[in-house]
């Protein structure tokens, strides 16, 4: 087994997909598009959502399993025509004022809402990523949700059920966003993206999409990624743009980088309850900041200190090297 590749071999060239948040959103998020923003409580792409508001996108269909603060902000920012989701709430910290107003009163304009369960959304991404016409799941039997969502349908299994009788099962259709945006801890310039802690549905949402933007805490050297290829949750071939944006998940957290801003979560119920106050908040914190760096500066050193985390390092593993 002594066949070392010649030391003279030129390194394989890797494309550089790094860009700015402004350019990534301008290039890939167009009016009327279907945009998936994923991250299950962890690594929420807040900064990308803010840039969509700054650029004044309209008529978006937003897909997001846990529609929380950034979704409420996008709706209040006038960007969203339709929401596809399985949980509309401000985590454990209260309500989404704008979303509730739109759905409960239709004011200032109605919001189309497509309701699923979490696994329904997961299976839609799974079908999308796998280019399947549908994905079967054991949810929805007896639920009222299919009565308000005609895209949830039934299929008869071609195999007999456990009792020998014909078996039916619900299915959901694929979700193929025009663009999926996720936040991650780190990536290389080609887009190999590593996530630890909660990894959620990010890989499937990216593979299901026509285009994918990965926002990261850090763009790192190829060697860092390649020291641990199993940590790569999203490979470069599925990524179109890499944006370095430290702190871009605030008020959500990034495992090992900063903690969740519980105070902000709790304050959102109050901010969003009053439509005027909510618009003032957007004017001040989003429309009034040039980019996420300004937003973070405005947030201040004290908040960032409060959210800082200590160290808990993984023990390394040996990938081995042929000798």
């Amino acid at each position: 087994m002594d066949n070392p590749v010649a030391a003279s071999k030129p390194p394989v060239r890797r494309p550089d997909k790094t860009t700015t948040m402004r350019e990534a959103i301008a290039a890939h998020v167009t009016d009327g598009a279907t945009v998936a923003l994923e991250g299950f409580t962890h690594l929420i792409p807040t900064a990308a959502g803010h840039e969509i508001i700054r650029q004044g996108r309209r008529d978006l269909t937003v897909a997001r399993m846990t529609a929380d603060i950034v979704t409420d902000q996008l709706i209040a920012g006038g960007c969203v025509r339709k929401l596809v989701s399985s949980f509309v709430g401000n985590s454990t910290a209260g309500s989404l004022g704008e979303l509730r107003r739109r759905i409960e009163t239709g004011q200032p304009e109605p919001l189309e809402y497509e309701e699923y369960s979490h696994y329904g959304m997961i299976c839609r991404y799974l079908a999308g990523a796998q280019r399947l016409p549908f994905y079967p799941l054991r949810s929805y039997a007896g639920s009222d949700v299919p009565s308000v969502n005609p895209d949830i349908r039934k299929v008869t299994s071609p195999y007999p059920g456990p009792d020998g009788a014909e078996e039916q099962i619900y299915v959901v259709p694929p979700l193929n966003p025009d663009v999926t945006i996720v936040h991650a801890q780190r990536a290389d310039r080609a887009g190999n993206t590593q996530i630890w802690g909660l990894t959620g549905i990010q890989a499937e949402a990216v593979y299901a999409a026509r285009k994918a933007i990965v926002v990261v805490e850090e763009v790192v050297a190829d060697e860092v990624i390649r020291s641990d290829p199993n940590r790569t949750v999203i490979p470069a071939h599925a990524v179109d743009a890499v944006v370095e944006c430290p702190g871009g998940a605030h008020p959500a957290f990034a495992q090992g980088y900063y903690d969740r801003d519980g105070e902000f979560y709790r304050s959102w119920s109050h901010i969003s309850k009053d439509p005027d106050r909510l618009q003032r908040w957007l004017d001040e914190w989003v429309r009034g900041t040039a980019d996420h760096a300004e937003y973070l500066a405005k947030l201040g050193e004290e908040t960032r200190e409060r959210l800082s985390v200590g160290e808990a390092w993984s023990q390394p593993v040996n990938y081995g090297r042929r000798q």
């Binding site: 299950f40 409580t41 962890h42 399993m65 846990t66 989701s85 399985s86 949980f87 509309v88 709430g89 985590s91 454990t92 979303l99 509730r100 759905i103 409960e104 309701e115 699923y116 369960s117 979490h118 696994y119 329904g120 997961i122 799974l126 799941l137 054991r138 949810s139 929805y140 039997a141 007896g142 639920s143 009222d144 949700v145 308000v148 059920g161 456990p162 009792d163 078996e167 039916q168 099962i169 619900y170 630890w196 802690g197 909660l198 990894t199 959620g200 549905i201 890989a203 499937e204 957290f253 495992q255 903690d259 969740r260 519980g262 985390v309 808990a312």
Partner: protein, 258 residues
Amino acid sequence: MNAGSNAAVTSSELLAAVASRELAGKNTVFAGIGLPTLAVSLAQLTVAPDIEIVYESGVCGAHPSHLPETIADSVLITDSEAVLSMPALFGYVLQGGRIDVGFLGAAQIDRWGNLNSSVIGDWHAPKVRLPGSGGAMEVMANSREVFVVMRRHDPRSFLAELDFCTSPGPDRALRDGIRPRGAGVTRVITDLGILARDGVGEELRLVATHPGVTVEQVREATGWDLAVADELTTVEPPTGAELRLLRDDVDPDRVYLR
């Protein structure tokens, strides 16, 4: 902060202690933050030392340094035994049939243990838009059984007719032509007592009341004609040992023991 066991028993302590006892003999529990966490943590120290909590965020075998604020709290991840992707958690663990007991809450429940967490009023023009299913529909469809903990037992929550059924029990599934995999809601633990049912075809009936609570009180707080078990018992209040464990070990800073 270490309150002695003489302090008055709070509603949270009562519900947590009662729920914990029902976990004897169970191996895996799907639980949210708050009362379910307290109940399972107490069970780990008493009746079910090997029991494992699986969180909706994908965390298995958490060993948190602080009490978690959400099911996705960073302290649940650091030092945990495994973190699963959403397809693995919902597909392999939940739908795969690996959960013995799922804990759920809801805005409305009916006599068959069907749950509504979507809307108050008409879905198309709701009076209140609630968060929706999240994973509740999957917990209901796939856990061997489901425990519901309701802090307030009143007719606004215990309804003869749900405004909307988000998470159906097995009887509704059967009527939809689909064979259910789990028993649905088998225990409803409230501030008034315990309702129970065994599975398909059975409705919830009152099996125990808390000390000082009358059957009539419970029936009045329930929006349907509540059946009462032949052998109605009185719930044993939290023991001194249970209270000490809850207060000193599980939640010394009273994060959830309100």
